[in-house]
Each structure stands twice: as C-alpha cells, then as structure tokens.
Symmetry: C2
Subunit: 443 residues, 2 copies
C-alpha cells in the first residue's frame, strides 16, 4: 500500500502565535542552532520525510507579538545537514527577490553538503514591505511575480544541468580534471534574466533539489503543475482539500507530467492531549495567551483594511475586496474570508482560529483522533501526506513522534525505516535526467 | 609581546594548481563536506585565528586544469561552524553581484550560527565572465564597483545595527517579545540601493561580522582604510610588503581609525621539507605537473592578451597595458607584470612562479626556515600575521601545524590557547557599538 509522507514545518517555539509565552518555551530558541538540531533529530528519529523552513526577506509582522527575525534558511539547513543523515531539508526562497545564478548555486551546494537531501520551497513573496528592502516602492503584480518565477525556474534548471553528471573525470595522468565539452553555457536571454552560465558547482546528487510550491491561487496552481514536485497548502475542510488535490493532479496530467510526481501536502496543526478534553484545554490556554491587538493588526494587514474597522466581537466587515483585487497572498486571503463567513465567526473567534496555524487546519484531540484525521484525509484522496505544524515546539513534535507516528505505523500508513538516502527517495520522486548528457543525445 | 595571527586559506587539494594530480590528493575533495571539516579541525587544533574561503559567482578558469566549481562559502561555513567551536570562519562574497539585504542577513545568520565567529571578505569581483551571469555584457568599471561596495557596506552596517542589542525582552507576562522602539528602519536611499529595513535577524554576537578586504589597488586600499578590519594581500618582496603595510596603517589613521584595528595579512605558500633540498624537490615536482597550456591561457586572460602572443621560453611581450587601463584585478595585474620584469622571467618561469599561489609569495624550506621568514616579515613591520596557503592540502597544513606552529610558539610569536570565543577576540578587534542604542543616545 502507498504510504503517506510527513514533513515537519519548523517554526521557533511552535506555530501557535502565543506558544512562546508558555512556561516551557525558550523565547530565544529561534536564534539557537542547537535547538533546531534537536528538532531535526527528533523528526529524523521518527522517520519524517523532511523538515521545512518558511521564509521571507523582510521583518514580518510586529516584533512584540512573537519571536521574529529568523536565521537565513539555506544556511540553517546547511548546519542541520551535519546534525542529521537521512531526513530531507527544505528551505524557502523567493524568486522575486533573488537572482537565479546565486540562488541556484546555493541550493546545489545544499544538495552536495547534505548528500542529496535538499528541497526548495519556491515562493513569489507577497507584500509591499519585502519589496521596499529591494529598491521597489511596492510589490510587483501577482501575475508578474509568477511570470518571473517561471523564467527563474527555467534558468535554474538549465544551470543545474549545465554540468553533465560525468563531467569530472579526474584524470591525473593526462592532467584533465573535468572534460570541457561536458560543461555547458546556458546562454539564457529572457524577459527577466540574462544568464551566461555554466553554474560554478557540478551537478548535485539529486540532479537538482526537490521543487516545492506553496501558493494556491490560480497562477500558483499553474506554476505548481509545471514545476512542483510537492505542494504545501492550507485547507480548512475535507471537501476543499479533495477538490484542491484533484485539481493539482489534473493540472499536472494536463502539463504532461505524472501526477504521482506532485505530492500534495496540506498543513495540519495538531494539539495533542491524553484525552480530548485535555487537548481542547491546551488549545484554549494557547488562545487565551493571544494578544488581540497584535492579531487584529495582522489580520487587518492581510485583509488590507484599517485595524479600527475590525471590531473584536462583530463579524468581518461586509465590503471586503474580492480576490481579484488582492496582489499579495491571494489564496490565503480567500481562505480567511471564507472561513469567517462559512462559520459566521466574530473577529475575535477568527483570530483564535488563525492563531494556531495562520489558516492551516488546527485539530485538537487524542493521538488516536489525530491519526484518524490523517488517515481519513489520506484515504479520501485529499492528501499524499501532511505538513505537520505543531502548535508548540518541541513538546508538540515529541508527542506527535511518540504517540501519533506509532499508530500510523500500526495501520501500515507510515514507514518504519528510511529505504533510501535522498529526499527524492523518501518522496518517491525520480532523479531528473540531464538533458545535455551525451548518452541521452544518442537515443 | 604582540603575537601574530594565522588564517588558513582553504583551497580544495591545495593552492598549487597541480596539487590535485599528486597521488595523495582526492580530486573530489572540493565537493566533500567531511574533507573541509577535517581541514578546519586541524587548523582549530593548531589554534589558527580563522579559516577562509575565496569565491567568485562564476565558473572560473578552465575546468580541465584543476578542481573547479565550488560549494557556496556561506553555506559551507555554516556547516563548518558545527564541526568546530572556536576558529573564525571567513567567507568571500561580492558586493557587485549581491544585494545588501539578503547578503547582510546571511552574514548575520552565520554569526549567530557560529556563536560570533563570522567574517566577510568583501570583494568587488573582477572580470566580464561574472558580469554575464547577472544580465550585464561586461564588468562595471573598477571605480564604480568600489563606489557600489562603499554604499553596500554603509547599508549593511545600518542593517546589522537595526536591532538594538537589547531589543528582545521576551516578556512572557506582558506578551511582548521585542520592544518595537528598539528595532529601527534604516530608510536608505543612495545611488545604488534603496533599502527600508529593518533586518529580519536580531543583532548578532559580534555586532557584525569581521570585515576583511582583499584588493590592493588605490581604490581597494581606500576602501580598506574605511571599512576593513583585516586585509589580505599578495606581496612578493619584503620591501613591497613593508611599504604596503605602512600605507594601509597610514590610510586607516587618516580615516580616523585605530591602525591596530586593521590587521594586514600577506599570503604565504609554504612548501615544507625535512631538509631544504626535500622542500625544493617537492616544489619542483609540483611545477613539473603544471599543464603549460592551461597556465598560459590563464595568464593571457589576466594580461588581456592573446595566449598565442605568450611564447613559453621568451619574456612577456613589451607592450602590455598599464594598470590604469585594467578594469579587472588591478593590483594582481601589476604584481605579475612587475615580478616577471624584475626577475627577468620567461613565460614558462613566470607560470611556475604563479602556479603555487597565483601571485602570493611561495617559500620552500625547512620548518625552521619557514618560521624564520614569518618572524622576519612580522618583526620588520610587513605583516600582523599571515594568510597561510598550503601548496598541498591536507598534508601541507598538517606539516605546518605540527612542525612550524610549535616553533612560532617557542619563539613567543603565536598563541598556545584561544583566549576568547569570537573571531573579534582572536584578532583583537573591538565589537562595534550599536549607534542606535539608547544608552549611547543619552551621552
Ligand atoms: C505551508 C505553506 C508555507 C508557506 N511558506 C511561505 C513562505 O515561507 N514564504 C512565502 O513568501 N510564502 C509562503 N507560503 C505561500 C504564501 O502563502 C503565498 O505567498 C501565498 O499563498 C501567495 O500565493 P498565492 O497568491 O498563489 O496564493 C506558504 C504557503 C503554505 C501553504
Ligand atoms: C588572499 C586574497 C584573496 C582574494 N580572494 C578573492 C576572492 O575570493 N574573490 C575575488 O573576487 N577577489 C579576491 N581577491 C581580490 C582580487 O585579487 C581582487 O579582485 C583584485 O585584487 C582586484 O582588486 P584591486 O583591483 O583592488 O586590486 C583576493 C585577493 C587576495 C589577496
């Protein structure tokens, strides 16, 4: 039977915005490398497919609200590569605020350093604040960001392929280290980039990093269908998750790809208790610690309204813009507005629902109940696996690893041992062939 | 007595271009993380101040000639940070082909990950080939590159200072993680950059990485005087090295800085033998392994002439351009031309002289003789320490660590133990004050 995949989404003291206020939490953890090593080792011992770090090139949100400012993910994962040996390492990086040569090289380097465990969550970075760190007055339009991302990936793949797998011959006798005709310029000239190449790193163990995508707008899904090998997504209901899953697989098929090679991983914020009541109490305690003013400010920013217009004990204002008018994070915007409307939530209730996972599904229950939810979504065709986002770290991860993972194993849903060594092996993804390679050219 | 500083310049199988052809060398070492860890650990056991990685965002030179393609240095050093605990970690990065927000963040992250051991070798990147990986037809003019570097550093320092040292209060009771008024926008608007800030990483253990500079042209020295805390340089003779040393210290003084806070570190390529004859034989064997065609091509590129115009057994052509006409690596150009003219070298001889260290001083001798040279240059006021560039790695480093370092210690010239924990501690450099900080504002 097909098994499911588990990715651990690392996030300082946990995904719940108030997790850092718990007595158990170290509020300096986000800057501590040992802390991240500890989390990665727990996930590896539990045989997770991968760990993942989100990112944005901007100081995001209010600094009072929660630990903010983050170590740059590709560097952090390079360090984690040496504290682990099997688990995959997925870093987020923006195609809007990087350039292809340098970034392709960093991911190739991470793949070499980790022995083939690198993944790249390709994002286009919503928001004007990030743009202002890069000489712009505001974010490029949503469509343009995705168009640039498309060209970026096109160049990146050419660069990763610019060395044939067998370019290095290391012939000491002849004095030939690499064969010059097995290293190729890429000579890309496009709308956004002109890049000569070749890359200054030989082809990496995985050929190139596993490409992950995390935007769920129309443009985002189109991009995923063309490039992504795994898709992170926030889904609140089983029905929506199934529709999203089917949509992604369809689009991949239409793009001429094997839908099995695009893994769909919805986010899940588990809050685990020995009894359901305990889990619900832990969840309520976290929500009690939310500072409403911070959360309201954040929500107002997402909705692009004045914070004052959001009254805590009233529903969202009726006259919000449609997704078309949003140039930032389109799909997240729609998810939040629909959630509030569908469940008729007040602003305060909505803030509580978003506090755990910023729009990802939160589920509080016993280990058995968490495993049931996972199995249900998996069997119903809503997910190839899950992006696990513990509300509190490390304790929420420890509970998941010791209490939930064994149940998934008993049910035959999750591996007991790694069977391969690369991130591609774990997710069952093929190693990309090298289009330049002479053996292929002969066929 | 003041002691000298030692930096290890890592370079795959060694600085000699033919080192990879020796039976002992692993020609895949440049892509191996364990190999780099091993070298860093040897240097740390010998109490070197730092290890250093050169870099350029381009595939440099001919791929047949020697191991080419390199792991990106900030990632590699993030991994090495976890294999070591005291030694400094200096990565090269270009101000011409990076942007300040992302790069400042990477160095801040490296400083956090390493517990205050990060250094940045700030270079402006000579050559048209690099430019063509970034949408340009050729390199920006030498002057413009340094002007951009100046503004880059100005922005970087503002970003590194954008969080007060005491910004994070982690007040769980009040629900305030960091004080908003201790985190500052930088609002830079200049000729090359517009950056809003603040940085998305809190201030790092060293305040900011140690700033190293490695260009010796007039513009380069001016830049060093303004920003550098250590200067790498290639010097062929004691007289030139003394003049360079005095010049840098003078310029630092004129710029209003303490000349003691700019360490001058000439490169030294030691080839060590039990007897002088053995050392000379090892050196000759390396030179014998140079492939003249490669080396001639490389030299022609530096001199900007047709390779055919360089006859192996004749002197350099008479009609070479002056340094003024060179827009690439000005000081290296002049060094090479002057070396050839001063010593009346043929092209073949010049190639041999450059094969070991690309213009850095090569010295073949016994451990005692190597120590004598180091002591002589140090006492004569030509160096605050040395950039050690073993011709062959790891063996040349092992020999230096076990044979030369103990002699330097006996003479009271080099530490027996680290006395601090940060790279600034090792080099005796002050931690930069935070100009935004409220305590200073009161003064
Ligand atoms: C699990 C998950 C993680 C994400 N991580 C990031 C991230 O680290 N950085 C980022 O800019 N966007 C991230 N996103 C994507 C943003 O939500 C995305 O910018 C937004 O959805 C815009 O894409 P869209 O307009 O296509 O929906 C993530 C999304 C998901 C579902
Ligand atoms: C020890 C040493 C290491 C250097 N490393 C680099 C490097 O990694 N990348 C680079 O672009 N330049 C490096 N340089 C500097 C180049 O030589 C420099 O680009 C060249 O000297 C141009 O600077 P200039 O025109 O000011 O002389 C290094 C120089 C020295 C002395």
């Amino acid at each position: 039977m097909t098994q499911l995949h588990l990715n651990l989404f690392l996030h300082d003291t946990g995904h719940h915005e108030a997790s850092w206020r718990l007595p158990e939490s170290d509020p300096h953890a986000h800057l501590g490398i040992e802390y991240h090593e500890r989390l990665a080792r727990i996930a590896e011992a539990a045989k997770f497919d991968s760990v993942f770090l989100a990112d944005s090139p901007v100081l995001w949100g209010q600094v009072g609200r929660r630990p903010s400012g983050k170590l740059e993910p590709t560097l952090l994962l390079a360090a984690l590569a040496r504290a682990t040996s099997r688990i995959g390492l997925i870093a987020t990086a923006s195609t809007t605020y990087n350039d292809p040569f340098n970034l392709s090289r960093r991911f190739s380097s991470l793949d070499h350093i980790s022995g083939g465990r690198a993944g790249w969550n390709v994002v286009t970075t919503a928001g004007d604040d990030a743009a202002r760190n890069f000489g712009l007055d505001g974010q490029p339009a949503h469509f343009d960001r995705y168009e640039r991302a498309d060209e970026f990936l096109h160049v990146a793949k050419k660069l990763w392929d610019s060395w044939d797998d067998d370019a290095i011959v290391a012939d000491k006798e002849r004095g030939v280290h690499a064969e010059a005709d097995r290293v190729h310029t890429v000579d890309h000239e496009g709308r956004y980039f002109r890049v000569r190449g070749p890359l200054n790193v030989p082809r990496s163990p995985q050929g190139h990093p596993v490409l992950v995508q995390a935007g769920s707008s129309e443009d985002g899904k189109g991009f995923a269908a063309r490039h992504a090998e795994a898709v992170f997504t926030a889904q609140q209901t089983l029905a929506e998750a199934k529709a999203f899953y089917a949509d992604i697989k369809d689009r991949a098929r239409t793009a001429g790809r094997d839908p099995d090679h695009v893994k769909v991983l919805p986010g899940l914020v588990p809050v685990i208790g020995a009894t359901e009541a305990e889990a619900l109490a832990a969840d309520a305690e976290l929500d009690r610690l939310i500072v409403a003013e911070y959360a309201r400010g954040q929500l107002a920013k997402l909705l692009r309204v004045d914070p004052e217009s959001l009254e805590l004990d009233r529903p969202l204002p009726a006259d919000l813009p449609s997704e078309d008018e949003i140039e930032g994070a389109k799909s997240r915007y729609t998810l939040v507005v629909e959630l509030a409307r569908r469940e008729e939530l007040t602003v305060r209730e909505l803030i509580g629902r978003l506090g755990g996972g910023r729009g990802h599904k939160t589920f509080a229950g016993t280990p058995e109940q968490v495993a049931d939810t996972i199995e249900h979504w998996f069997r119903e065709g809503a997910a190839d696996g899950f992006n696990i986002m513990p509300a509190v770290l490390p304790s929420g991860l420890e509970l998941f690893a010791t209490e939930v993972v064994p149940i998934l194993r008993q049910r035959g849903l999750f591996r007991t041992e790694y069977t391969g060594t690369t991130l591609r092996d774990h997710y069952g993804l093929p190693r990309p062939a090298n289009p330049f390679s002479r053996s292929l050219a002969v066929v």
